[in-house]
Symmetry: C2
Amino acid sequence: MHVLRINTRTREARTEPVPQTWERLGGRGLIARILLDEVPATCEPLGPKNILIWAPGLLVGHMLSSCDRISIGGKSPLTGGVKESNAGGTTGLALARLGIKALLLEDRPEDDRWWVIVIDEQGVRFDPADDLVGLGVYASAERLRERYGTQPAISLIGPAGEMRMRAAGIQNLDRDGMPTRISGRGGLGAVMGSKHIKAIVFDPPKGAKPPLVDPKAFREAQKIYNKALMEHPQTKIYHDYGTAAMTSMTSHFGSLPTRGFSEGYFEGWERLSGEHLREVLIQRGKPSLPNHACMSGCVIQCSNVYADEQGEIITSPLEYETIGLMGSNLGIDDLDVIARLNHEANDLGLDTIEVGAALGVAGRAGLLTWGDGEQALALMDEIRRGTPLGRTLGNGAVVTGQVLGVEQVPAVKGQAMPAYEPRVIKGTGVTYATCPQGADHTAGLTIRAKVDHLNPEGQAELSRKVQISMAGYDTLGVCIFAGFGFAAAPKDIIARLLRARYGWEDVDENILSDLGRETIRLERAFNWRAGFTTADDRLPEWMTREPVPPTGAVFDVPEEDLDTIFDGL
Amino acid sequence: MHVLRINTRTREARTEPVPQTWERLGGRGLIARILLDEVPATCEPLGPKNILIWAPGLLVGHMLSSCDRISIGGKSPLTGGVKESNAGGTTGLALARLGIKALLLEDRPEDDRWWVIVIDEQGVRFDPADDLVGLGVYASAERLRERYGTQPAISLIGPAGEMRMRAAGIQNLDRDGMPTRISGRGGLGAVMGSKHIKAIVFDPPKGAKPPLVDPKAFREAQKIYNKALMEHPQTKIYHDYGTAAMTSMTSHFGSLPTRGFSEGYFEGWERLSGEHLREVLIQRGKPSLPNHACMSGCVIQCSNVYADEQGEIITSPLEYETIGLMGSNLGIDDLDVIARLNHEANDLGLDTIEVGAALGVAGRAGLLTWGDGEQALALMDEIRRGTPLGRTLGNGAVVTGQVLGVEQVPAVKGQAMPAYEPRVIKGTGVTYATCPQGADHTAGLTIRAKVDHLNPEGQAELSRKVQISMAGYDTLGVCIFAGFGFAAAPKDIIARLLRARYGWEDVDENILSDLGRETIRLERAFNWRAGFTTADDRLPEWMTREPVPPTGAVFDVPEEDLDTIFDGL
């Protein structure tokens, strides 16, 4: 494995050995380490000093079920702090096969030209991207696959990233070539846009795989893990219903963001449920699919393919967060409409959470009638056209609130909240408040814990525990849902996999927590240097004051609990 | 003297004795003290926990020349930190005559009604303001003067403050009843708007004056100060040319912000000079006036009245900062056009510095052709209509840069820079970077110092010295130009005035610096609690990289100098 540095100004590439302090990290943890080592924390995120990083997790490369995720990161233009956003699809695997431990995109061009970077056995080259500029993600991906074949993995941005909108993400292909696995959060698409890179094509040599120190032990451990994952009841639920399985659960708790986070219960929730989604997809038949794997080897297959009644694919997958933020959050109860909004966001290269939250803020400002899908689509078109309103929305919920004069913006550290109402699921509220990434459900979702979610007591402890685990999984390249398998398998399963792959004999059953704690420590150190303080570890004030129906809950976890959550990390 | 608290939700008022720790402070220093004592530093600036404060300086009340300024402050919605913005006019005097050491507007209403607060001998009452909502500042002031007479002082906001735009200020009447003395900086108009107060009418009893412990000693000291001020050559310059006298000086140094801070020299500068302005005003004759006092008793009279060729008053005064930000910064060299832009900003209740900088950013984004006054006026009209673009501009330069995708925003801590290019006048750049208020020239302008402004060495020391003095003057209620008089008078002149007024026998010739240091300490403490760190004490990164013609200077004062500037304060 090596480090690949590409200077986007000089268009020079350099391969380097992996520094010792980077070796035992991958994915999210490695990104935090690199940022601390190489990026001035106070730099302008869209300026030449920011570095955009691709880093596969430690377990990536061998098609372990749900363990081939790619982490992309840098200093976030949305939060001003550390950012890692991971995705499924084929990019992680391709980097591992190319032997790339970390890819660093440095500097930025001084002229107006745009490029496609191609990375293969021969090395690195820059191809002009002039014909792709302004094209949507779908059309760009199609053209790139015509040009470079269907084999390579591709990371690319859409018009939103080109326009350096802070809600822009970076798309990755899934194993079917659909460009919809997005490293969506934190505006990394704008960072890629600032460097004038439209796409990166990762073309590993056929059959290449990262080495295994002990292939036999690896396969044994893999078998045990796979079995545990397969047998876990949650795997079946996600297989059948995908992430939309959450709709009924959040509805039950009164924690489904509704009409601009003004309510926690949506009367149309059943039409947004996993059950209903599955019915629609089965009824429509192919190309609609209720289960679909974004990565080769995944046994969960929580993804889906959503086609309209005429059999035209609209989006893949339709996920719970999108359903929440672009559905109930906008008062919309029609999956077809949500899928079309999702398609628009995908094609523009936008994070559906951030832009859905921004649309909710626009609704609060009276620019969107709740439930009016055509209006919502018209607002997405404003983004595409780059109008002042569109540019506002495309820069996320906080800027939208500032411009439109809306106080009730659901965001922390500048990043919009996912579809778990934090006044109700208070442990997740603690995660939103204290996670170095800004409001992020994948950083520590607590909704499954058997606790009284409305009781503020003990929520910080719960959040801490889950945040540490998730930071560990994100460093391993493990999907959030694979965690069920690892948790059910013998305690040393991750250690066994790492030992078999890398020969790290000193790794023990605490490795997940060790990696998680190290990752959060590094992230907090970067944020601290960037100027973050405990003042940033807060939910917005209005959520501590305005009760959310029907529970009438406010966020009332004591600030002291927030400020001490990572003590002794 | 007493403290007056008004709760804008319950509409109850309460008079209280002055707490001991507030007694020896006034104006800017007192505002910092009150914020620290009473406002949670992390609160939402437009929420119910922010307090909007009026505090006359310590010397206000006796028509000492140029010493009757009113400080208005609170937590800034633009910077998120401490904010004090002072103005001339009649408000300071009226508060002192009412015996008000500090007026605190607390909480905010929960309904949609708007109010005028009337404060007189009888006490405090709330009058409905429904007929004033949406009216411009000029029409509102006229109606208020019809209703309450021409005697009272008035603080009021325009449509921008009602819309809670972050570039909105609070206007005060001058001694001729013109509503154009603006506490412009930091978005305090939005705070007043958040509390649904359209105006406050201050109606002191006739002839009332704050007590003097030793009237004879006071008048003696006053005489000495007045003489020193009158004899100072700078007084004559400001009398003749007003603040526009700066145009030739900044042009000479290459530090006149031009076309969105992309250059430091404007080829049309002579048409923007104090000399040309004076010519125009003399040639046009009354009501145009080249010199005019905003406060009774002022011998400097740096203000002016600017009427068009038909004798219709457009604005009063036309100031250097407006000429810089809405003139050269937009490539406009026509004083008539600048005066009209100034009129629009005044009528909307907007800070001309902030909105001028925002227009400059719009110019960088291609939404304004440099030099096109009609386009600039059309953009001001967008603000009036509250369109998405208008709301963007009305929220200041930083939001405008975020929305329009412009990196080159001239701002620190969210507040736009005045008309001194900090890459060239580096001491003022240090002030912009380190002042707790955000970019602010009145907090420590260094352009008159006999130093090499382009040399980064020693600039922090210079800035520190001037920042301390200015914080002292702002606490006394002293106009920036009165400082020339105090500096030329005997060293103990301020101590003599304070002793004569308050009987503070322990006050000595260090009082200006003592007050200044105390003020900055308090302000930094509040900002620290609000989450500010040294990471916020920086000029924008692009100014450290992009040279400004014609000097080719970048901002290169070492960060260590910035971080240690207030050591041992």
